[in-house]
Structure formats: structure tokens, C-alpha cells
């Protein structure tokens, strides 16, 4: 299987971001969340619609998260609303609201909206009429009760900002995968062809088996009955195992390590079907490790970034941790 052809051009300015354990557990959580949010807002076309640093707040386009110390848990708390205009088509803006949970520094909120968030003060979160509660005051990456540890964050995004992916690795294991992306080849009639993923492995392990076995990729469609629906990721399969699991080694004829396209399928009532696939994302074989590159030479054009997911890469060295 020849290496795949890219559908998009990619930006790699936020890869290999090593985060060291901080002096306090609280600071560890601050730095990590700040780094993830910073990656998302750096994607082309993404905006800060509003924010709070626990001192001042407003849905005014001001980005108050100027450094990690502005990410505050407490009675007065921080929040930020990031928006991707036209993410689901003309006039269909995707918004994600991220906020620390006042009662526990391990927990946050992550809400999605197409209608748009409004309001919000230094001690109240913004709201929306069509909120999807992705995380409702709970863990946001898999660390158990540990908020402070060495980790590394990688973010890759398309130059048009329509696809962005963030992964956090701890001890070379993916503990967080976030992706906001326009669907490739969406079916006719899908009103908002866009996928939102926030996955941490206490929810579902970030592996090929788990991602194809659990519906963790969110989407929205306004056709009646309008609503959000969860999708499973798909892979080429023979009998009862995906090909990368059944044949987890190099092709015995071509000596290549194959890459398999990723699609998405929903079994949600009224939204059942395969509605699209994911741009420039592939499954690698199950024996390949985080940081393994394709081809396995200096070009490193693709990379296993965790969970058997392979993304485009720029040939640079990969920092696993």
C-alpha cells in the first residue's frame, strides 16, 4: 500500500510541547489546560469569542488567557469560548466553552454549541440554547487524581483551520485526544458536517479497538429531529477483526506498514448511517508504537500520534515525553 496522498496542507507549529511537572499540583493543571487551549486557538480561523480570567470577564472577543496563571479554579473562575466560524458550512459557527470547575481542580467543563454562547461573568459560565455537555465537571484527561506530571502536547492542524487535533502523552501513552474537524465527503443533506472529539482514556481508551467499539465522536444535524449524535470510527475489516489488528505487521508482499482510512458511523436513532470520513487520518497497525513514523526514514511524513492514529507529520523529531 503506497503512502497516502494528503487532502490538506498541515501546520506543525505546536508539536513537541514538553510540559514539566510544576511546583504545585494546581500549577500543573493550569499549565496543561492552558497549553491545550492555546493549541486550539492557534488553529487558522479560530477565534476567542469571550473569556474570563476570574478578575474580569466578557463575551467581547478579548482573550484574557494570556498565560497559564489566568486559568483559575475557584469561586471566581476562568472560562473561555473558542469559535470556528463556518465550521459546518456558511454561517454555521462551532463553539466550545472550556471552564475550570470551581469545586475540584481536577475537573473542568467542556460544552459545545452551534447556536452560540452568551453571557458569562467571573463567577458564572456562559450558556447556550443548544449546549452539548461534553464534560460536565469531570476529569478532562486520564490522570486519576494526579494533576501534576511530565507530559507532552502535540497539535497538528490544517492550514485552513478546518481540521485540528491535539494529543497529550504521559509516559508515551495518550491520555487526551481532542479533535475538531470538518467531515470529509459528508453525505448529502447533513446540515452540520463536523466532528467534535474530546477523549480521555478513563472514558474510553485511546486505541483502535476502543475507538471502533465505542461512539466517542460527536456530530450534529439540524434535520428533524435536530440533535447531537455520537459516532463510532470505522476501519477496513475482515470477519471479526480490523485489518491492522488481524495483520499487525508489515505487508508480506510489499514490506509496507499499511495505513487505513478512518470513517465514522452513527447508530443514533434518526441519524443512523455512515455520514463521512476524517481528513488525513489513518489507522496504523496495532504493533506500531506512539512516535513510529511512516516511512521509517528521515522523511517521517506520517506519525503514530497515539491510539494507533496516524497523522501527517513534518519530518521533525518526535518528543514522546
Amino acid at each position: 500500500m503506497a503512502l497516502p496522498t494528503l487532502n490538506k496542507t498541515w501546520v506543525f507549529t505546536k508539536i513537541n510541547q514538553a510540559i514539566k511537572e510544576q511546583r504545585t499540583s494546581y500549577a500543573g493543571g493550569q499549565v496543561q489546560l492552558y497549553t491545550v487551549v492555546d493549541a486550539i486557538r492557534s488553529w487558522a480561523g479560530w477565534e476567542v469569542k469571550g473569556s474570563s480570567d476570574s478578575v474580569t470577564a466578557g463575551m467581547d472577543g478579548v482573550d484574557r488567557w494570556t498565560n497559564y496563571t489566568k486559568v483559575v479554579w475557584g469561586g471566581n473562575f476562568s472560562w473561555i469560548v473558542l469559535r470556528k466560524p463556518n465550521a459546518g458550512g456558511a454561517g454555521k459557527n462551532f463553539e466550545v466553552m472550556i471552564a475550570p470547575y470551581p469545586g475540584n481542580t481536577l475537573f473542568i467543563y467542556v460544552y459545545y454549541s452551534w447556536a452560540g454562547f452568551t453571557g458569562g461573568t467571573i463567577n458564572t459560565r456562559p450558556t447556550a440554547t443548544d449546549t452539548y455537555m461534553m464534560i460536565d465537571w469531570y476529569y478532562w484527561r486520564n490522570t486519576g487524581n494526579n494533576n501534576n506530571f511530565d507530559c507532552v502536547v502535540h497539535s497538528v492542524s490544517s492550514s485552513d483551520g478546518n481540521v485540528g487535533r491535539v494529543v497529550m502523552l504521559k509516559d508515551n501513552v495518550p491520555i487526551l485526544y481532542v479533535a475538531f474537524e470538518t467531515a470529509q465527503n459528508p453525505v448529502t443533506g447533513w446540515t452540520h458536517p463536523f466532528y467534535a472529539t474530546w477523549l480521555w482514556d478513563s472514558k474510553a481508551a485511546i486505541t483502535l479497538d476502543a475507538l471502533t467499539d465505542s461512539a466517542n465522536v460527536l456530530a450534529y444535524d439540524a434535520n428533524a429531529p435536530a440533535g447531537w449524535f455520537a459516532n463510532y470510527l470505522t476501519c477496513e475489516t475482515q470477519v471479526d477483526a480490523t485489518t491492522p489488528e488481524r495483520i499487525p505487521y508489515r505487508n508480506e508482499i510489499g514490506a509496507e506498514s499499511p495505513l487505513y482510512p478512518v470513517g465514522a458511523i452513527s447508530l443514533a436513532a434518526n441519524k443512523r448511517g455512515r455520514h463521512g470520513q476524517l481528513y488525513d487520518l489513518w489507522w496504523g497497525t496495532s504493533t506500531r508504537r506512539v512516535g513510529d513514523a511512516y516511512p521509517d526514514d528521515a522523511t517521517k511524513q506520517f506519525l503514530n500520534i497515539g491510539g494507533h492514529l496516524v497523522v501527517p507529520w513534518n519530518g521533525s523529531a518526535f518528543t514522546p515525553l
Binding site: M1, A2, N185, V187, T188, G189, W190, T212, D213, D221, N223, Y232, L233, T234, C235, E236, T237, Q238, V239, D240, A241, T242, T243, R246, I247, Y249, R250, N251, E252, I253, G254, A255, E256, P258, Y260, G263, I265, L267, N270, K271, R272, G273, R274, H275
Partner: protein
């Protein structure tokens, strides 16, 4: 999912109805032999019309290797009922450059039945070197590694190599419900559909009876073959299912080895690489353990369309394991749709479902009897 774009342009010979022939040609033949002989004759004639050449042939009275085609009509197709002993018709066809320059594919068909007086059996072998020998009473052989394309499929592929045992060459009548008469008592009505890409790289013949695909014959180059594959070509004579009224073109037969025997290594379509035959399963996009057309058998609830997934080729054969490519212009369909259903659901009928697989179509109303 919008209708797919075609990789190739196609030529069609469709809706060829072969009605049951009333009488056997000789006293030693079964009642149904004329019908079954007519089907094989039609298949042979179609291949020859596509450019296959006759290397050798036998009409159960004489034989030759001079290129003369002794199968001049269906009455020349006569069965011998004990392999190797009784006179039986055979033919060897060659498709030149099938897998590339100098890589010729050979097909042997001999009308021999292991079970006494059963003209639903034959010997069908594929090879990449020439057959030779044979006689009115003997099967031609191959010094290379000829593969039995229809041998009992619950054994390892290795058993198929060099095995000249006769087996059913199309679906047994007992797998229809209600069961069709055996060839000992009468023949069978079928419809034959033939598709060939305009560049000659892909040739497919579908034989349908009573709305069930009872045989699928295919000789085709592989799309996007894995690099280094010496013979990027798939050959198939699919003839089995294990469920009543299920077409041979099905997920359970071509993707799923659950119906197989203890070896679990033997698919129904084959490739060849560097002296090794490999079994090829037909992969599909899937989630969990079900292919999309099985898991979501209904139409897409947003678009109203039925899913069509490309057919990939995967081998588990030792030394040749891996994903090796795709089939041109062929897709897995929904198990909810029916044999003969066309897509889109309008008068254009650009695609048709045979079994659980979708083919390009010429816009005509498909006959499936």
C-alpha cells in the same frame, strides 16, 4: 453517500436467458446435462468473445492442442462420471498478459463428476503456466502449480494447489428453498450477465437463478496493488453458500470465514505472487465486527442513500499476508436490499446489486428470474 465515480468504462452483455434444455444429448448423460452444458458453453463463448484463446479442447470423442475449439455448441459438452476413466469434454483457455506483459493466465474446465451422474460437478483449475497432456479420458495437467478454483472450501488453500478433484461449479440446488431438482432429473433456468471493462483488465460473469447468484466468475487486475506483487490479479469461480437462498456473493462467503472448516484459511477468491498462490478475502469498511452493509442494512437516515463500501483484498495466506489492493468498480451493499435492485432508485439504473455486492450497470432492467 453519493453514488461513486467509476474507475473504468464498461461493456455489458446482460440478461442472457438460458432456459432449461429438455433432453440429454446421449444416453449416458443426466437429464439436466444439456442445460448445465449450455451454461458452461455460454461462459466459454463469452470469455472467447473477450479475447481468451482456446489452447486445447476435447468433445469427449476427440481432443487437440492445436487451438481448435471443439466446443462448437452446447451438445459437445459431455460429462464423464468417474474422473480419469470415462470420456469427458474439457477445454483450456488462455488470457494473454492477464497480470502484465508475459504473465498469461490459463483456465481448465473438465466436465468430470466425482459423484456418479452429476453434471453440476466439474474440474476447474487456474494456472500461470500452460496445461498439457490429457486425452478423451484424462484431464490435462500442469507442471506448475495449478489451483483448483472450486475445491471444497473448508480446507487450507494449499490443498487446492495441484488438486484436480471435481466439485460443484455452481450452487447446489439443495441450497434453494424450496430446493430445486437435482441434475439427475432435470436442468435449470439461469440468467447470465457479463461485464468487461473497456480496457479488458476486468472481466466478470454473474449467473443468477431464482433470484440467487449461483456462480460468480471473475478474472481481473487489482486496483492499487501492494508494491512488489508479481501478479496483481484476482481469479475467482465462486460457487458456494451455506444458507438457503443466499447468493454466493455474500459477506459470509467472501468476507467472513465463520462458515469454514477448522482450518479457517480458505477464501473463495485467489491471487498469485512469486510462485505462491494466496487466498483473498474481500474486506470492507466496518465498525466492531460487522461490515457497514451488515450493521447498517437500512438507508442512511440523513441522506436517504444506501451505503456502498469499496471492496478491498486481504490475504491471510502464509508469506503473503496483508492488504493487497481493491477491486475496480465493485462495492459492498446493504443486506437489506434485494438481488436485482438498482441504484439510484430512478430510471438511470447505474448500479445493480447481485448478491450483497454492487456492480456498474447499463441502465436496463436486470433479470434475475
Amino acid at each position: 453517500m453519493p453514488l461513486p465515480s467509476l474507475d473504468k468504462t464498461w461493456n455489458f452483455v446482460t440478461n442472457v436467458q438460458l432456459k432449461e434444455k429438455p433432453l440429454p444429448t446421449t444416453g449416458t448423460q443426466q437429464q439436466g446435462s444439456a442445460s448445465y452444458g449450455n451454461i458452461l458453453y455460454t461462459i466459454k463463448a463469452q470469455l472467447v468473445s473477450w479475447g481468451w484463446t482456446v489452447e486445447g479442447s476435447c468433445d469427449a470423442s476427440t481432443y487437440n492442442w492445436g487451438g481448435a475449439d471443439l466446443w462448437t455448441d452446447y451438445t459437445k459438452l459431455l460429462w464423464g462420471f468417474t474422473p480419469g476413466d470415462n470420456a469427458a469434454s474439457w477445454i483450456v483457455l488462455k488470457r494473454a498478459n492477464a497480470a502484465g506483459a508475459g504473465k498469461d493466465f490459463y483456465l481448465l474446465i473438465r466436465l468430470a463428476g466425482e459423484i456418479t451422474r452429476d453434471c453440476q460437478e466439474a474440474i476447474i483449475m487456474g494456472a500461470w503456466t500452460a496445461f498439457s497432456g490429457g486425452s478423451v479420458t484424462l484431464t490435462p495437467t500442469n507442471a506448475g502449480k495449478a489451483l483448483n478454483l472450486i475445491y471444497d472450501h473448508n480446507v487450507d488453500i494449499e490443498v487446492h494447489v495441484g488438486n484436480y478433484g471435481p466439485r460443484y461449479w455452481l450452487l447446489q440446488p439443495t441450497y434453494y428453498s424450496p430446493a430445486l431438482p437435482s441434475s439427475q432429473s432435470r436442468g435449470i433456468d439461469v440468467v447470465v450477465h457479463a461485464l468487461r471493462s473497456s480496457d479488458g483488465e476486468v472481466e466478470r460473469i454473474v449467473v443468477v437463478s431464482h433470484n440467487v447468484v449461483c456462480a460468480y466468475i471473475s478474472f481481473e487486475k487489482v486496483k492499487n496493488p501492494t508494491s512488489g506483487w508479481t501478479h496483481p490479479f484476482m481469479c475467482a469461480w465462486v460457487n458456494r453458500n451455506y444458507t438457503n437462498n443466499q447468493s454466493v456473493l455474500s459477506y459470509s462467503i467472501l468476507n467472513d470465514d465463520a462458515v469454514r472448516g477448522s482450518s479457517g484459511l480458505c477464501p473463495y477468491t485467489f491471487g498469485y505472487h512469486d510462485g505462491l498462490w494466496l487466498g483473498l478475502y474481500w474486506g470492507s469498511e466496518a465498525y466492531k465486527d460487522a461490515m457497514l452493509g451488515e450493521r447498517i442494512s437500512y438507508y442512511n437516515e440523513i441522506s436517504g442513500e444506501y451505503t456502498m463500501c469499496p471492496v478491498s483484498l486481504i490475504s491471510n495466506s502464509p508469506g503473503c499476508k496483508g492488504h493487497h489492493g481493491f477491486l475496480y468498480d465493485l462495492w459492498w451493499g446493504s443486506i437489506e436490499t434485494l438481488v436485482g435492485d438498482t441504484f439510484p432508485g430512478d430510471e438511470t439504473q447505474q448500479f445493480v446489486r447481485f448478491g450483497e455486492v454492487i456492480f456498474p450497470w447499463d441502465g436496463s432492467a436486470p433479470l434475475t428470474i
